[in-house]
């Protein structure tokens, strides 16, 4: 609640009376409201804010140790004690390290990107550089982090609610354009990580997560009610395998956002979970049967009363279907295109109304804030999104035919942002080559 209050520009320590969760459940004993009525009365009459506002550039912290090793340990202990860590070792964001990160942008360090909801922490380019420094990043990663933060702060995302909600949706950043290979973002085997050959996605996603927690206030059980948390240490940052797109298949960023092929861009979706789909068949089968059976299995996984899809019913997405390059090639050879695949998956993931009813789903549709979503209750079978184009389809993953991957979404929108590079970007890439060795991609 403090986040919600500070997020609208009020001092965060608003007058509140808090109770254990049990009182908020159906059939609960609400006599504690009567017993603690004086706290409500005091809130209306006597409460005063004790918040003092800080201003200017980010304040500095300091630790001391007999050696660098000891100081580093103490810095990590302090970051955890202040609830700014994630349980993994952090690089303290020293002036030197942050200045190094800032080489990745031509924007001024004080350039305001917005306020990170729900807490409303002021988010500048410097704030991003601090998070990236802590996450073990490099300056050439900063342009993608800035674009991802801009995407998160787009009003269409409803990010304040996504940050706080119990479903725990997490950002998925799909990168298109040559920058993916240049800075070592994975599009192939193990693209959701970890991968020491392609370390960029982990650092960028971890920095975004640190911003969500430290600046946005999404601290588990306090600022975010994400019940399970969904393995969000690094969120998900990967690239589409554009080199493997079959002839005539367009990159995701071109289809969804209209960016010219070759444009460096990010596309932001919020996922609430992932499902591996064993797509490949066994025993004797024709290429047609392999593709068709696999598609049915994907649609079967999508045909679930996952009510998180309601958030993106009209303008967002029910999820991201990842198809490996080998499978995309097989499909294309049989005449499938991305639009045809989306049409098939949309048509065959519709849920019969009787199944929705037995799961109690219509009540959620009826109370949805979007009239178009509410209207959809008249459809039987019920499509999981307004139209096929809402489904995000990307060619990515290892060159292997067995599986597809479905990232189910809780995503009111799919936001695209171009990535802005500094003029010195080539120098940063050359330095990365020296530091990390030859790029294996």
């Amino acid at each position: 609640m403090k986040n919600a209050v500070s997020g609208v520009g009020l001092a965060p320590d608003a007058a509140m009376v808090t109770f254990p969760i049990a009182m908020f459940l159906p059939g609960s004993d609400i006599t504690p409201v009567r017993e603690r009525k004086q706290e409500f009365y005091d809130g209306l009459m006597r409460w005063q804010s004790k918040f003092s506002q800080s201003a200017g550039e980010s304040p500095m912290l300091s630790v001391e140790g007999a050696s660098y090793e000891e100081a580093l340990n103490r810095a990590n202990d302090l970051l955890l004690a202040k609830l700014w860590g994630d349980g993994l070792p952090l690089w303290p964001a020293t002036r030197e390290r942050v200045d190094w990160m800032l080489q990745g942008t031509a924007l001024p360090r004080t350039h305001l990107l917005g306020k990170f909801p729900p807490r409303g922490g002021v988010t500048t380019v410097e704030t991003c550089a601090i998070a990236l420094a802590m996450a073990g990043g490099r300056p050439e990663y900063l342009p993608i982090l800035i674009a991802a933060v801009e995407g998160c702060l787009d009003p269409s995302t409803g990010f304040d609610q996504l940050q706080a909600t119990s479903g725990g949706p997490f950002p998925v950043v799909i990168v298109n354009g040559p920058i993916a290979k240049q800075i070592r973002i994975n599009s192939g085997f193990g693209l959701l990580g970890p991968d020491p050959q392609n370390p960029a996605g982990a650092s960028i996603g971890r920095a975004l997560r640190l911003l969500q927690q430290n600046v946005g206030g999404a601290l588990p059980g306090v600022g975010t009610m994400a019940i399970f948390g969904a393995m969000r240490y690094t969120n998900a940052v990967f690239a589409e395998d554009e080199d493997s797109l079959p002839q005539g298949w367009l990159p995701h960023a071109t289809e969804r956002h209209g960016y010219t092929t070759g444009t460096n861009s990010i596309s932001l979706v919020f996922a609430s979970g992932v499902t591996n789909v064993r797509r490949r068949g066994a025993k004797k089968e024709s290429p047609q049967e392999d593709v068709q059976n696999g598609l049915w299995r994907m649609a079967d996984f999508m045909r679930a009363p996952n009510l998180a899809v309601l958030a993106g019913y009209e303008k967002g997405t029910p999820g991201i279907m990842m198809i490996s390059p080998v499978v995309a090639k097989m499909m294309a050879e049989l005449g499938w295109t991305k639009p045809k695949l989306r049409e098939f998956l949309w048509e065959n993931s519709k849920i019969p109304m009787d199944q929705l009813k037995r799961a109690g789903a219509p009540a959620w549709i009826e109370i949805d804030s979007n009239p178009i979503t509410r209207e959809s209750i008249k459809l039987d079978p019920w499509p999981i999104c307004l139209k096929p184009d809402n489904i995000v389809l990307v060619v990515a993953g290892g060159a292997h035919p067995t599986h597809s991957y479905w990232l189910q979404a809780h995503s009111p929108s799919v936001v695209g942002r171009p990535i802005r590079l500094p003029e010195t970007f080539d120098r940063l890439l050359a330095q990365a080559q020296r530091d990390l060795g030859a790029n294996r991609v």
Binding site: L10, A11, P12, G56, E70, A93, T94, Q161, N214, M225
Partner: protein, 96 residues
């Protein structure tokens, strides 16, 4: 060995003050803004009756005096309705 590093939490900017507190709760008019969740339909009416019992002459508007639900309570339209109703204070609930 001293290690200096940035506070990563980002500044908070207070752009508007909280409403002034009341000197007493007697003979006041109080509004309730409800998101209609987390047993608000039971707790907020209980709070209304407690206030009206403990502070004679105080009127607490019914929970449905303003639009309810998360999608509506934060809107400018609801804020205008609250202002128009001429209440001295507002209680907002429930969050979990």
């Amino acid at each position: 060995m001293k290690l200096e590093f940035y506070d990563p939490s980002g500044a908070l900017e207070v752009t508007q003050p909280h409403a002034p507190r009341l000197s007493s709760l007697e003979r006041k008019r109080i509004g309730i803004v409800s998101n209609e969740q987390w047993q608000a339909y039971r707790m907020l009416p209980l709070l209304k009756s407690l206030l009206e019992t403990d502070f004679p002459g105080t009127e607490v508007l019914p929970v449905d005096a303003y639009p309810q639900g998360n999608a509506l309570i934060g809107t400018e339209e609801t804020a205008a309705l609250v202002k128009k109703s001429g209440v001295d204070a507002v209680i907002v609930g429930n969050a979990a």
